[in-house]
Point group: C2
Chain length 81, copies 2
Amino acid sequence: MKAYVYVTLKSTVLDPQGKTIHGALRKMNYRGVGDVRQGKYFVLSLEPNLGRETAKAEVERIAREVLTNPVIEEFSYKIED
Amino acid sequence: MKAYVYVTLKSTVLDPQGKTIHGALRKMNYRGVGDVRQGKYFVLSLEPNLGRETAKAEVERIAREVLTNPVIEEFSYKIED
């Protein structure tokens, strides 16, 4: 069982890294990109004997308490077998 | 239209950042996590007049040529309206 956690800056927070990538893409003549935002991405391999509900609760707790800075970031996650 | 690009280290490449997070989770008494790997995550806002096929080709090109280091990383992406 694997959990995928996606952490991004809140949309109200400026993302200088994304802006830099966007600027680079424009300079390199890639077309059609209006904006870029960068985030982090975690793959957690969960122990197979963990129940689905327990896994969900644990992953949500880890994402909220460890992987995300709640002041400027938000997260989403999905769990797959 | 938005494109989501996920970049991770190839599974054969050691991920010290993921290992550190895994170690921290163990020390903090989070249970059930066997392994952690960290990657990057990009959200590209695409211009609406871009066709689906063009968008797909352009995003794949950007991911391959700019966002990923092909020696140690691999990517996947999805496009959503």
